[in-house]
Amino acid sequence: MELDECLERLYKAQLLPEVTVRALCFKLKEMLVKESNVIHIQTPVTVVGDMHGQFHDMLEIFQIGGPVPDTNYLFLGDYVDRGLYSVETIMLLIVLKLRYPSRIHLLRGNHESRQITQSYGFYTECLNKYGGNSRVWQYLTDIFDYLVLCCIIDDEIFCVHGGLSPNVQTIDQIKIIDRFREIPHDGAMADLVWSDPEENNNPTLDHPDNSGQHFQVSPRGAGYTFGRSVVEKFLRMNDMNRIYRAHQLCNEGYQIYFDGLVTTVWSAPNYCYRCGNKASILELYSKDQFYFNVFEEAPENKLLKENSMNDNALEDSISNPVANRKLIADYFEDDSASADGSTDPEMYIFSDVYQARSASNRHVDYFL
């Protein structure tokens, strides 16, 4: 199957056959194995944060940011889990990478892992969409091992999914990591995809020497938070001026730390289809000119939300891709019907008739 044909199907949220998925993953593996752990790219580029399987929101990103290959993209990881369309999301990105290898770049996030995807939904979604076996999940988690870890833009901007590591002082130390493996629990590779910045403007009695600006252990007992001083040190040693990362939900789409030395980009609007948060993509025009393009959820997701008010219904939706597709088709059919000029008073969503009908369709649960 040709790549352009794959793209055509994927843009319509149609699944590719299992044999095609296998072939595409094999091809991408061949391509990625030659890439360094650290890739270097130039502006202009648009940086995208976590997607978490929200496929229609990713299409919305290509709408507002411009389609590939007209726009260069850098994705910071976490393509799967939690959303309803992780398979479609990662497959579209894989085919775009194969078709336009120098226009789109994919970093690895902490969810690109076998252990995490079994607990957070991607494994379940693969089983449900590919006939109850886990082969597609295996192909995709194998390709996750080949994704690159970091990206440097214009030799001055460091991009990574999570953050810094006490085991990484220089970029060369990242280049020698053996990345072709499952993400370990500790070490530099783990820290790069798991660590979080922590702002501490109020030195307290706990650490009056401002040690909060260094690496601290998370209260969960593993993993680091990093403070301003280690960021400044890392940037100084590597002659860079700032860091972009993802990994954490931002209610307005992005979050700035340490006066702009570190910025989180978050690109999943209305996260988990219920948070109501905004999302953003970072449009880098040059190393000094950039714009956070903030947006909300794609219209398709609003329709889904109305028919799936809670988690149980969402799980049912995953089990019924046919019903989902019919839902989307109905949505666009209504639009085309409107375009035909036919009048339908029930389309007015606040009319009593529409509300009565949709109310009877909404989920209620005789919970005990």
């Binding site: 601290q216 969960r220 993993g223 969503i349 649960d365």
Partner: protein, 356 residues
Amino acid sequence: MSKRNTPPLRSSGINTIQINAAREMHAQTVRARRMPMPTSGITTPSVQPTAAPATPPRHICNNPNNPQCLHCGSVIIPSPRATLPLEDNPSISINDWTISSRKKPILNSQELDIWENEKLKGLTLPEMIFGNNYIRIENSKQHWSIEFNALDALKEVQLQDSGIRVAYSNDWINSKKRQNSTNGAQRFTNDVNDDSLNIIHKYDWTYTTRYKGTESSPESKFRLDNDQKLPLDKLAVHDKILFYDDMILFEDELADNGISILNVKIRVMNERLLLLSRFFLRVDDVLVRVYDTRIYVEFDENVVIRESKEFEGKYQDVLAKHRLSQSHDPKAALRDSNWVAQNTPMIKRQCEIIQF
């Protein structure tokens, strides 16, 4: 995160929020314009209830956006959030009782700053706080109400170490200590020393809360009575649900090490209501915990029963029960708090009652 300032946006590019808002407003206007046009051949089907109601409906719908209940023919569920700044606070009244609810998105940065620095000082806030959500059950005659909201639930979270660690914590800490020993001679190059391996933040990162609702009276009117039981036989009957809502108060993904979520839902029938507030905690490969609080109200007898149950078990013990079912996807069940509650030992139960 004590600093959440949003800098002024640079002027390059188009702000798509405005585009989307304009898009929605235009679509709504076009649809509204079509409403009054007469159409031949289309008639509204007359509503024919299956049976005349034995008693006239006693409830009052207080819903600006929801359809009026016609012979109890519709379930009242809050409308989709309006694109205009129209407030939608659906509520229903039966006798002296009024039940109301509100659902909004998670707190924005300004709201989070206030909660972090004033209302919940000392607690690192969970990632998703639906701070404007609530469900309230009110009796106007008795001047009493009970409400479930996120702020009061989070006030019950302890500001001290829970002692719980993620599954790989021991291995992780020991690995770091070995590295420190190896690098002892080069300590000046290492940003981590032995002091840094001690956990400094003092709060319960699992956000465990035994929240049972907020009463309007300064002293609780509930009286302990563990012999009381919820009348499950009445609740099992599928009486028509007149009001239903289901919402999350807060949620945190524990940095992808599990989930901590407080969910509240309520269903109101003609003679009674049931509210379930459920705190669900899963620390992957460590433990699962479910704390349930149920509120039962019998409208005619003016009885309120509050039952609390605590379930807790080791992750592997609970997972083993699902493995027995030969499932291909055992961990999916641990995302379902209903399944977890049914397969986890109950460690505590308490029942309280109010008889007005």
